[in-house]
């Protein structure tokens, strides 16, 4: 017999952090595939650059902190952050944009707080917002979906742009990009166009933006799969999307010419990605069931407010960061009643 002294319980369930991270990453694949299919090779560069940057910068910090490198990289959290950023960033972007955003996310938003589990904010969202504020031009030049574009870019042309900043095209990058659907709606509403007119814009599809709605459908697919696999619980996505739906629906009912419909809100921008993949991040979110519902409602509400009246076309990233800040407080006030205690604590 072995003389191993171990403390109970001696058995453990199947759950493991790295398995969770890997499965969530897998759940992103359909959306990434659709993104690439519809928007071209740039997405592949984004993904590869983000992964390389995330792993290298995490390894560098871990080495500086004197921590074990391989074990921590193996937890899969850096990989997931990289993928989330890659899908959130414009599909054709200069290499340094991806590198700066990812490195910031990993080094400042995660490792400087103490690494996985200690970061109060979702690292990918921090990286995204930092880029949005610092490089508004690059962050808002979104490639149009392939089928509405005049030109297509092959692999070598994409590489030339990503790494050299040069496009072998007349008219440069501008001939390829267009405003995102949310941008379009926002700008044209600002120009006093009515929703009726705006909806005929070629950038808009059936529910959301053309092309985007397919990517988002894949995000939804991944999200549902995560629910089915119990990687996430329904509370955050349902609370967030429900709130977004209800608030936008309400305003749309009151004033349909100035407020886009609830389905458009849900199918556009980062709403689905945020609801299923980012606001569900346990580390930076609320932990209790009630807390998660409150958290989701907050994200949904802020998203609508920013989209409708704020300075940015999409508000998901900001809303999630705002609620990240509130999470500890939410947790504190949603402590469960302990068994055998009457009320309170």
């Amino acid at each position: 017999m072995s003389m191993l002294k171990a403390s109970s319980p001696h058995i453990h369930g199947p759950a493991a952090v790295n398995a969770v991270m890997l499965e969530v990453s897998l759940a992103l694949l359909p959306a990434l595939a659709a993104y690439t299919w519809l928007f071209g090779w740039g997405v592949i560069f984004n993904v590869l650059l983000a992964i390389a940057t995330a792993l290298l910068s995490e390894a560098a910090v871990l080495r500086m902190r004197g921590r074990e490198v391989a074990a921590t990289l193996g937890d899969g959290s850096a990989l997931l952050t990289a993928l989330l950023l890659a899908i959130a960033l414009p599909p054709l972007a200069p290499w340094w944009l991806i590198v700066v955003g990812t490195a910031f996310a990993i080094i400042f938003a995660k490792q400087l707080y103490g690494g996985l589990g200690f970061n109060p904010f979702n690292p990918a969202m921090v990286g995204y917002v930092v880029l949005l504020i610092s490089f508004p031009l690059e962050m808002t030049s979104w490639l149009a979906p392939l089928d509405v574009r005049e030109h297509t870019l092959d692999l070598s042309a994409t590489a030339a742009y990503v790494f050299g900043g040069q496009l072998p095209l007349q008219g440069g990058i501008d001939s390829l990009t267009m405003a995102t659907p949310l941008d379009t709606v926002k700008t044209r509403l600002g120009l006093e166009h009515t929703m009726g007119e705006i909806l005929r814009d070629p950038v808009l599809g059936i529910l959301g933006g053309r092309g985007w709605e397919i990517v988002n459908a894949m995000v939804l697919l991944g999200g549902l799969w995560m629910l089915f696999r119990r990687l996430i619980t329904w509370h955050v996505p349902v609370a967030m999307l429900g709130t977004l739906f209800v608030t936008s629906g309400l305003f749309h009912l009151i004033d349909p010419e100035h407020y886009s419909g609830p389905l458009f809100h849900i199918a556009s921008g980062g709403a689905l990605l945020g609801a299923f993949f980012i606001a569900t991040d346990p580390v930076s979110g609320a932990t209790s069931t009630r807390g998660r519902i409150i958290f989701g409602i907050g994200v949904g509400l802020f998203t609508f407010i920013i989209r409708a009246w704020g300075g940015y076309p999409d508000g998901v990233a900001f809303s999630i960061l705002l609620m990240n800040m509130a999470a500890p407080t939410i947790d504190y006030y949603t402590r469960p009643r302990v068994f055998g205690h009457t009320g309170g604590h």
């Binding site: 058995i11 759950a15 790295n18 209790s288 055998g340």
Partner: protein
């Protein structure tokens, strides 16, 4: 069977692995060459030996008598000669040794004369309790609290429900299952006696629905008995439904108040095996000298349940179960969720040994890497006490014990559900045990310091007093006698006042969240905490350094 059930919060569906040991019939282990009978196999004070080395003893003979109220006697489980009364290692999480009586058996297995009472109903409850106490019966479900105490409702409460715990929710263990299959009649007759002793209105026997044979057997026996107030309730299989508080919740919908006892809400809970030994004690006059032990796990060649004489060395039992499988295994006493590892097969089985698990890699696969807490909340979702294990973990780890108590550390029943589901593989329960141990130790040290301070204060006071008196005596030597008497009187008055103040202070002391009124489980925890501390085996500090490297 149309009993209304009330689910308890949290909990887990665990792979049961019970078939491993229930596929073979219940057998009886042979009389071993030596029996090692520890004097303390229960919660409370160790028993005091009544025999000496060299004495011949008979099966069923009392070997040691209880000391104090919370204590239990021990008996010889076979006939033979006492060859030693000495410290022997006992199966305990601490791995410590404890005084034990060692008997060399003579193989005759000759009973001492013993007589039962054919009509329990003619005995009044206190007589019954004395019989049960003298039979050395303690809770056989694992806690080992003297049963006669829990059969005393006292003046304060009416007992509504006696609950018999046949849930046996922990994986691998099947001794209660086997007992109910084979001796359902004894369980029911014991229940009847217990109900009589408690004047309980009804008796509910809770059995998990993964034991259909046991349920059928008890129900069949119940038909013969024709007792309308005893009811068998099939409960859903869910760990830890066999926890006292959880079972009470499931069967009655009531919650035992934190820091409280089931009796506070008119409920008393006993294990089914305890009921069967109560029957044997009362109606046959047999003390508690044997029990059923599950020997199981993939390390055992022939896993099965054995009727075992208490004191039988574990090695003999393993041989009875076909020896080991030549696969490396860890020996665990109890189940895989709450059991503890043993480091020797020379240890004896005791009254609370329900299961010996020869756990191979197949049974208890090695853990994955430890990661930092990712706040996923899984632990809170499964916690039957509705605690926030991740918060407890933070505070226990930071040694912030006040905070840990704010988060109700002492409501933790150490069921292990949180650790089981934690994707970061954190040894959560280990931290809670560590924190509890430290808190009890601090409390004890504080009490000792208080006492020392008081002694010191009183001494200072006396010295001052004596100085003054001396001075006074010098001045008025003539009136010395009279004055001394007065001083003495004064001193006595002051001393009495100080004693009163001290008593008051002690009474008002902030206990580690109330140490009176402890439940059986809590008492066991304290006891374990104390010995753990003595043995220093459970400090998770080493693991702490592993995390978050």
């Amino acid at each position: 069977m149309s009993h209304q059930l009330h689910p308890f919060p949290g909990g887990l569906h665990l792979p049961g692995n019970k078939g491993l040991s229930t596929d073979r019939d219940l057998a009886t282990a042979a009389v071993p060459p030596t029996l090692i009978i520890p004097l303390q196999q229960h919660i409370g004070a160790p028993a005091k030996p009544l025999v000496a080395v060299g004495d011949r003893v008979l099966k069923g003979q009392i070997l040691a008598t209880p000391e104090g109220y919370v204590s239990a006697p021990v008996h010889a489980s076979s006939s033979g000669t006492v060859i030693a009364i000495e410290e022997r290692p006992v199966p305990h999480p601490s791995g410590l040794a404890a005084p034990s009586i060692v008997i060399e058996t003579d193989g005759e297995d000759r009973w001492i004369e013993h007589n039962g009472h054919s009509d329990y109903a003619s005995l009044d409850p206190s007589e019954l309790r004395n019989i049960i106490r003298d039979a050395g019966i303690v809770g056989l479900g694992g806690a080992g609290f003297p049963s006669f105490i829990k059969l005393n409702p006292g003046a304060r409460t009416e007992i509504d429900t006696l609950i018999l715990n046949g849930a046996e929710c922990e994986p691998y263990i099947s001794c209660d299952d086997m007992l109910m299959r084979e001796h359902a009649d004894q369980v029911l007759l014991g229940a009847r006696i217990m109900r009589h002793a408690l004047h309980a209105r009804q008796c509910l026997i809770g059995i998990e629905d993964n034991k259909p044979e046991a349920i059928a057997a008890v129900q069949k026996a119940l038909q013969h008995l024709d007792e309308k107030e005893i009811q068998v309730v099939e409960i859903p299989t869910r760990y830890p439904t066999g926890g006292e508080k959880q079972l009470i919740k499931v069967l009655t919908g009531k919650e035992v108040p934190s820091q409280g006892l089931p009796i506070d809400i008119g409920i008393v809970c006993h294990n089914v095996a305890t009921a069967a030994s109560v029957y044997r004690a009362v109606e046959r006059g047999e003390p508690l000298i044997s029990r059923i032990v599950t020997v199981t796990g993939h390390g055992a060649a022939r896993p099965q349940n054995l009727k075992v004489r208490i004191g039988t060395p574990i090695r003999d039992l393993l041989q009875a179960a076909g020896g080991d499988n030549s696969k490396p295994y860890t020996l665990i006493m109890g189940g895989p969720m709450m059991g503890f590892t043993l480091d020797s097969e020379a240890l004896p089985t005791t009254k609370t040994t329900n299961c010996l698990l020869l756990a191979t890699e197949e049974d208890i696969p090695s853990r994955g890497p430890v990661n930092p807490c990712i706040r996923c909340g899984e632990c809170a979702r499964v916690c039957p006490a509705l605690l926030l294990p991740q918060q407890l973990y933070w505070h226990a780890r930071a040694k912030d014990f006040d905070k840990a108590q704010d988060y109700n550390l002492f409501d933790c029943i150490e069921c292990g559900c949180c650790t089981y589901v934690c994707p970061s593989n954190l040894p959560l329960v280990q931290y809670y045990r560590f924190a509890k141990t430290e808190i009890w130790a601090q409390e004890r040290e504080r009490k000792a310091a208080d006492k020392a301070r008081e002694r010191h204060e009183f001494r200072q006071f006396r010295i001052e007093r004596e100085k003054e008196e001396k001075a006074a005596r010098h001045k008025t030597k003539a009136k010395a006698v009279k004055k001394d008497a007065a001083a003495d009187e004064k001193k006595a008055v002051i001393q009495a006042a100080m004693e009163r103040a001290k008593a008051k202070r002690e009474a008002a002391e902030v206990q580690p969240k109330n140490t009176e009124n402890l439940s059986e489980a809590q008492k066991r925890q304290i006891e374990e905490a104390e010995t753990r501390r003595a043995a220093k085996t459970d400090n998770p500090a080493e693991q702490a350094s592993e995390e978050n490297k």
